[in-house]
Symmetry: C2
Subunit: 381 residues, 2 copies
Amino acid sequence: MLSKLRSLRPLNRRTMIYGAIATSTAIATGCGKDKTESTPKQQPSVEWTMVSFLKEDAKDLILYQAPQMVCDLIKQMSDGEFTITLDNSENIATEDILKKVSDGDVQCGYSGIYYNDATYKVLFFGSAVPFGLTPQEQNAWLLYKKNPNDKLTFMQGIYKELDLNVIPFPAGGTGAQMGGWFNKEVKSPNGFNDLVMRIPGLGAEVLRDYFGVKLDENLPGGSIPITQIKNAFKEGKIKAAEWIGPYDDLQLGLHEVAEYYYYPGWWEPSTTFDVQVNIAAWDKLSSKYQEIFKAACFETHTRILAEYDQKNSEKLGEILYLETSGQIKVRKFDNSIIKQAKESTNSLLAGYAQDKTFKKVYEEWFDFKERIRKWSDLSIM
Amino acid sequence: MLSKLRSLRPLNRRTMIYGAIATSTAIATGCGKDKTESTPKQQPSVEWTMVSFLKEDAKDLILYQAPQMVCDLIKQMSDGEFTITLDNSENIATEDILKKVSDGDVQCGYSGIYYNDATYKVLFFGSAVPFGLTPQEQNAWLLYKKNPNDKLTFMQGIYKELDLNVIPFPAGGTGAQMGGWFNKEVKSPNGFNDLVMRIPGLGAEVLRDYFGVKLDENLPGGSIPITQIKNAFKEGKIKAAEWIGPYDDLQLGLHEVAEYYYYPGWWEPSTTFDVQVNIAAWDKLSSKYQEIFKAACFETHTRILAEYDQKNSEKLGEILYLETSGQIKVRKFDNSIIKQAKESTNSLLAGYAQDKTFKKVYEEWFDFKERIRKWSDLSIM
């Protein structure tokens, strides 16, 4: 779906000055309280900045609300004492966010980790892997601790292992996605050959390496900015593009430029977006503010997924109407495509597992998936 | 699954004195702050009580953690200024909790709404309905607003319509459940005839009215206290019992007293438990505390469901081992059973829809289910 929305931005924009951690220790003692337990403890106020990959041109996406929702909830729960200003300036490149947070240039950032480069491909297990977990299974995985007494979740621990100085908190999932828009029918794996498609992430790699899909060479990661997708179709620069699901896709008007709408979105069954927090900044927070931050992320995560499910299910009706009235064709990927894609995904992941950390996470994730899928399947009626 | 854990308790125990709303307005002004925005606003401390249906004997259930988790999170996020004491005394009857909260005898209560009597059967749509929503769909339903600008969710609005003076917040779901333990094989709908079974809720009504199941007449709602289930099997008083899923069921030792373990748990595909809050108490909270309360419920809700999914999937392995070693038999309900149960559920719900409010919610829920299930099914691979 989403992608490096700003993938063409230069990588070295570091000139922004972000708000420092304001810890004005306004301690009021001895102000005539006679009941200790009813005297509010004084909290230092904190002012943070959150950079976001979601720019103004993404404002029609459901996900667009997520980073601001986290900031608003934290402000409300702290009565304005812990404020985070959202910075979604055009000059903050998506792929820079992780490094900015890691370096402490900014206290936190909102991003999809699958927009980052190969160094951090192991982190995709917290975001989006083809034929991965369902959204509900993914939540169990994101909270999974190998040892119940661990302070960090398994995935949070991987950030530490990579010396990233970052702790991530899931705060928004799109739920299941569609396979995307095509202006030709793809009946078999061969149908993808030489197809110029807009798609980022591991799904793009599978299609490029095993299906002969051409990713636009001028656009790293095969993705183009949100505003250019529709025009790229019109101008014939791309023949296929994946985005998110019925609601967001209709907002973008993709049904006006492509005829075939495919499902299932096997490359992103449950994409998760995180607030990534700099560890030094995190450690300076009082435990009260840490809890508030965490809870705000939980609430946002649940609300956004619920809204995707609800709005996508509503707009699916519109999609089906468009099909009935002959304007688009909704198709399920042929089993031969799904089969090859599954095998290709396994090959791709096995290749990445040459890396020690990737191997460790992949094996843990794979076992988790096998186990939880068995449980999920028991309840299908 | 769960049930009126204390269904034998007398209904008129109202002698407990619950903590009043302590709003000691400790306002400290003019204490030498020179920077208004860094001076913490003074909050009155609040002391509440939460009654819970989960007693000490339920301490091995995953769900048991939920009410205390809500209280702990609220305390942490308010730095001890908003404290809720959990009261799970033996003398608080499960079916009294809704009324206690509604009457303002206590500020809030933790319960499964499906333990209440027929007057409030419409509220089951927020908790558990046979062949209802999956846990993920259920979350979308629980947050569903008919009009996006409504302040309350659709289900919260129904509490208002019933003049209950209660606002509910989902705070814990068990996820999918198993069909339960049987000491005989049930191969067809006839197999249930005259079977004495421990089961509460609408599932019990379906089995009683359409399958000839006998609910223990001494135990209202066909349910017996948690500590008695295993013994009731041993003593031959019951031949079948449903509880929750692999983890909780193994904790209870049901595999030691019954041979057959059936799935899917069509009567409770996604059971939700709520914190019910008295409206007058809620309205007295500052918006800060309201937000903290709400977020604590969101976090608890997500954590509990994730833990159920994770631990059930782990313990499913143990269940399958027990089967391999010949100790139990794991069986899927025959399609003829599922088919009749589905039809019977529809008849039962149609009967309840003679009631105006029930009809309204049922229709809204039914449409929602049809719509969101179509969307869910698109992503099955």
